[in-house]
């Protein structure tokens, strides 16, 4: 039971960048001691062959090294909150979709969502031929997330749903509630 290990446990559990003082409070030790042990821990991580590292840029955090980020992305496709995700879903389903239509479907907050989705590179926004309105589309990056994890079954299912008659789908919706979110 060393202080270094207690700090390591705390960093693992917290999972976000924390200050020396915050750690000190959790492990009940002096900040100076914690800082010195943190440096030691940082060295340990950097010297061994591991996918993990301790970052000390904006507070201390245990994280996956840059080289292995693809695995993180695969497992965490997008850090999107449910409302943003819903907006993305609508765009994906109805693309190419006019920005004005999206607003009708999702309300005015959709504009913020568009900004976030553009920033994450999941959608594009382009003027239509007449230059009058914006057209939204998903990007190859979005498609990549869908293909990942080999979840082709789910995707195929969605495509099938498209083809099927609307009758059954609507019926199902009435009986089962949506459990997402």
């Amino acid at each position: 039971m060393t202080l270094k290990c207690r700090i390591e446990a705390a960093l693992f559990v917290i999972g976000k960048a924390v200050t020396v003082e915050e750690i000190a409070e959790i492990v009940k030790a002096k900040p100076e001691e914690v800082e010195s042990e943190l440096l030691d821990l940082l060295m340990d991580y950097s010297s061994r062959e591991s996918a993990l590292e301790i970052d000390d840029e904006n507070g201390y955090i245990i994280q996956v090294r840059e080289e292995y980020k693809d695995i993180v992305e695969k497992l965490i496709p997008v850090e999107l909150k449910p409302p943003v995700l819903r907006t993305l879903s609508v765009i994906a389903l109805k693309e190419p979709l006019r920005q004005s239509s999206l607003k009708e479907l999702r309300g005015a907050t959709a504009y913020d969502h568009i900004a976030e989705l553009l920033e994450k590179g999941l959608i594009t926004r382009k003027k239509d031929k007449n230059g009058r309105s914006f057209i939204l589309k998903t990007t190859p990056k979005f498609a990549e997330y869908f293909k990942l994890k080999g979840d082709t079954k789910a995707l195929a299912k969605i495509l099938d749903l498209n083809k099927k008659t609307s009758k059954t789908i609507v019926e199902n919706e009435e009986t089962e509630g949506f459990s997402g979110e």
Partner: protein, 269 residues
């Protein structure tokens, strides 16, 4: 040694008899171990030199004679006699019998529970209900993820359904709109509607729709055809033509109730 043992045996017999009698007259329940213990203490048996077969034989015999029906007591006495023998053999093998033996304690527990219906459960890996849940130490406060791929797919499926529903509703609205616009028909429209060509187009259109619908349903409600995109009047006129050609039958259970279309018997659409 032989004579010694023999002597002890007779002592033992006597002792047992004495103790069992005591037991019988005593109001307090006495455990078999106490009988043996007392006998050992009073020197009537040598705990390190027990002929277990003889002891139990005699003991059982006595119990039968006394018509004692406490099988639990008998069982316990047998068990403890066996335990004494085990201690004896341990001593002979040079094992320190005064050391704590956890397995033995467990064994004792099992024996004391022997009258319970325990079927064939292996208790070795069973822990108490209080210990069965172990707190995981892999939980993290802030996991990077907010949404997984699976959740994304789920959302898409959900919106797929909503989308379908909206599309259906729009379709219905459209047909309702057409029906209403019938009120605004000009005389010219009505003349055109009565035109042979117009009627024939409607008839073949409706016939096609019916063929599809009859694949799954034998009885179709008029409104189902209207949903297909034609106005009510045109549909009705087309149906009258089909009925007069003996392609279909029009059925209505009551006046002003729903109108159904069924296939004419012996005829396909």
């Amino acid at each position: 040694m032989d004579s010694n043992v023999l002597k002890k045996r007779s002592d033992l017999e006597f002792g047992l008899e004495e103790n069992i009698n005591t037991f019988q007259t005593d109001d307090k329940a006495v455990d078999g171990i106490e009988i043996l213990f007392e006998m050992a203490k009073s020197g009537k048996i040598d705990p390190w030199n027990i002929d277990i077969a003889d002891v139990t034989d005699k003991y059982l015999q006595k119990l039968v004679e006394l018509k004692a029906n406490n099988l639990k007591l008998t069982g316990r006495t047998l068990f403890f006699a066996a335990l004494l023998l085990r201690l004896k053999s341990d001593v002979l093998e040079g094992i320190n019998v005064f050391e704590e033996k956890p397995e033995e304690a467990q064994f004792l527990d099992e024996i004391s529970d022997f009258e319970e219906d325990s079927e064939s459960i292996n208790y070795n890996n069973v822990i108490s209900l209080d210990e069965v849940l172990e707190r995981r130490t892999s939980v993290r406060l802030y996991k990077n993820r907010v949404v997984t791929l699976e959740e994304l797919v789920k959302q898409l499926e959900f919106y797929e359904k909503i989308d379908r529903r909206l599309a259906l509703r729009n379709k219905q609205k459209k047909s309702v709109g057409k029906y209403r616009s019938y009120e605004n028909f000009t005389p010219e429209d009505i003349i055109n509607m009565a035109h042979d060509e117009y009627i024939e187009t409607s008839v073949s259109k409706i016939q096609q729709s019916l063929e599809k619908l009859f694949e799954t349903d034998s009885k179709i409600e008029l409104n189902e055809l209207i949903d297909a995109g034609m106005d009510k009047v045109s549909v009705y006129i087309a149906l009258l033509f089909l009925a007069s050609r003996s392609r279909i039958d029009l059925v209505q259970d009551e006046f002003y109730s729903d109108l159904y279309i069924v296939q004419e018997i012996n005829n396909t659409v």
